[in-house]
């Protein structure tokens, strides 16, 4: 934690941490506590006064079927995004680590999407799936599928899941490849001598050995799907059609900035904060456990 040898105490360390602490207090701690305080208030219809109502906002959410639906939608969305992008990345990394020369070449070609902003990823996909002009609906027509994500909620959901997963494949691929390359070659060779083919070696040796990475990526991908996909949804569907792609973070934005339901939006923020904290704790416990290996 602290160096054995350190500088004598002086006012200097306070000056050094001051900028970071000031920003943390003004833009993190204060707004977060405001969100918590606001979640106990209900404003009147004209925004002139507000009333302290304890947990009524949470109670309203608890009984709100729209919120329940958004919660389950978010769960399905994030599980599918994580499964799709991790599965695809795992397959690609599994094959890439077999290539001695050229693994880095493939890596260069596969990491691009990491650099692309979620909203841009959304724009790219919405262009490809544009119902009148897009390339993929044109081909889907031949197999008898009429694509219109402006009308069909299921298709809209599929589109945002695809765009979100596409962007995250690069990240998962990098971590999987690094994990696989750190497995000692002698282990793989021993299995090969014992007669295990590539598929068997992958499932019985490589996959179990990289399970810590899988768990780590699962948490990271869930956090990504919960929060960072806002741009994709805002660009592609704006939560629609109806509310078929309104996930929790989009609902906070929509209820707060568009619907101006400050108390309800703040209560949703608090619930999201609890969720992030839970995920961070899970992740840190895992990191601590990994150190013991």
């Amino acid at each position: 934690m602290l160096k054995r040898v350190h500088f004598p105490s002086s006012p200097l360390p306070y000056l050094l941490v001051a900028p970071q602490l000031a920003i943390t207090l003004i833009f993190f701690i204060w707004p977060a506590s405001q969100a918590m305080y606001q979640s106990f208030l209900i404003e009147d219809a004209f925004g002139l006064g507000s009333e302290f109502v304890w947990f009524e906002n949470f109670q309203i959410l608890w009984e709100d079927s729209h919120y329940h639906a958004a919660f389950w939608r978010t769960a399905v969305f994030s599980v599918l995004v994580a499964a799709l992008s991790m599965g695809f990345a795992l397959i690609l990394a599994g094959f890439a680590q077999r290539v001695v020369r050229g693994a880095m070449f493939y890596r260069t070609l596969l990491i691009w999407p990491y650099a692309i902003a979620p909203v841009l990823a959304g724009a790219l996909w919405v262009f490809m799936f544009n119902p009148t002009l897009g390339i993929l609906p044109y081909f889907l027509e031949f197999v008898g599928v009429t694509w219109n994500h402006y009308l069909n909620g299921g298709q809209a959901m599929a589109l945002v899941i695809l765009a979100a997963a596409w962007k995250q494949v690069a990240y998962n691929f990098l971590f999987y490849l690094a994990a696989m390359q750190s497995i000692p070659n002698s282990v793989i060779e021993a299995a090969a001598i014992d007669g295990a083919g590539p598929g068997r070696r992958f499932w019985t040796i490589i996959f179990p050995l990289i399970s810590p990475t899988t768990f780590f990526l699962l948490v990271i991908n869930m956090v990504y799907a919960f929060f960072e996909t806002f741009g994709i949804i805002h660009a592609v569907t704006q939560g629609g059609p109806g509310s078929s792609t309104t996930i929790l973070v989009y609902k906070v934005f929509n209820d707060g900035f568009v619907g101006l339901d400050l108390g309800g939006s703040a209560a949703q923020s608090v619930i999201l904060m609890v969720l992030v904290i839970a995920m961070t704790v899970v992740q840190f416990r895992y990191v601590e456990r990994k150190v013991e290996y």
Binding site: K3, I111, F127, L272
Partner: protein
């Protein structure tokens, strides 16, 4: 490779090539769309092979009127805003995290652990979950529509502080002992020994943070109402909305291309640093 299996090798490369094609397809289609004229881009099926209008579209997008029927800032100004915001966020984060990590590792002072935990908490509060109150704070401070408002609230970073703390902890104690014997004060030690030693870590972190800053969307969207402060990433959404009336896909996709080229360039050209930064900050 462990054994020689020509068929398995063939399948390996086949799968990888297919994977690359699937990953690259959206980017390729964007590039193709940006290289055709407006008339071609209004007829289905859209082309899959680049046209010859790339240069014309680039000039029209960068310096032309922009999309007809929308009031947006010129694209070159939005690119500049994005660059300025990304640099302020990344350099600001690196600066304040270096200083606070230095204080936490090399000084013993009352409330040291309290400071540490306060910084730690910021790890758990992404801007998305506290947007409304943070917006109010920034509005009260009069920082709407300014570069300060765009960057300062995003500058505090627990991950960067932790990473530098980790780096400083690996610096041998003898360095500090000998520096003190030679009469160097804390700031001298920081400048002349710690900074040079953590040069690659700073560069690796810069790559990650530059991309993080460039790709900010929700926050700029909320606090800029003045079109001269819009960033390039934000503008895409406005263009998609405008596309419903005037589908100038060649211009929209050229703008999208311009918005993603700088971060892609940073990732590809500094790939080694990028991978290092990614694995260090997230683990």
């Amino acid at each position: 490779m462990v054994e020689n299996r020509p068929l398995a090798d063939f399948i390996t490369h086949l799968v990888l090539v297919l994977g690359v094609v699937a990953i690259a397809l959206p980017i390729w289609i964007t590039f193709v769309a940006a290289s055709h004229d407006e008339i071609r881009m209004a007829q289905a099926p859209l082309p899959l092979w680049p046209g010859d209008q790339l240069w014309v579209n680039l000039k029209q997008t960068l310096f032309g009127e922009g999309l007809s029927g929308t009031e947006t800032a010129p694209v070159w100004l939005m690119l500049f805003n994005s660059l300025f915001m990304a640099l302020m966020i990344s350099l600001g984060k690196i600066g304040i995290s270096l200083l606070s990590a230095f204080a936490i590792v090399y000084f013993k002072f009352p409330f040291r652990m309290a400071c540490f935990w306060m910084i730690f908490i910021t790890l758990m509060l992404p801007v998305e979950v506290r947007i409304l109150p943070t917006f109010e704070v920034v509005a009260n401070l009069g920082m709407l529509n300014s570069y300060w408002g765009l960057s300062i609230p995003l500058i505090a970073s627990a991950t960067a502080t932790f990473m530098f703390r980790q780096v400083f902890l690996t610096v041998p104690d003898e360095m500090l002992e000998s520096a003190r014997i030679d009469g160097a004060g804390p700031m001298r030690f920081f400048w002349d020994i710690l900074l040079p030693l953590s040069r690659t870590n700073i560069a690796a972190l810069f790559v990650i943070l530059f991309i993080f800053g460039w790709n900010q969307y929700l926050w700029p969207l909320l606090i800029t109402t003045d079109t001269s402060m819009t960033t390039i990433v934000m503008s895409i959404k406005q263009m998609l909305e405008a596309a419903e009336q005037s589908p100038q896909w060649n211009i929209i996709m050229m703008t999208a291309l311009l918005a993603m080229i700088p971060p892609i360039f940073v990732v590809i050209s500094m790939q080694k640093l990028f991978v290092q930064g990614l694995t260090e900050t997230d683990k």
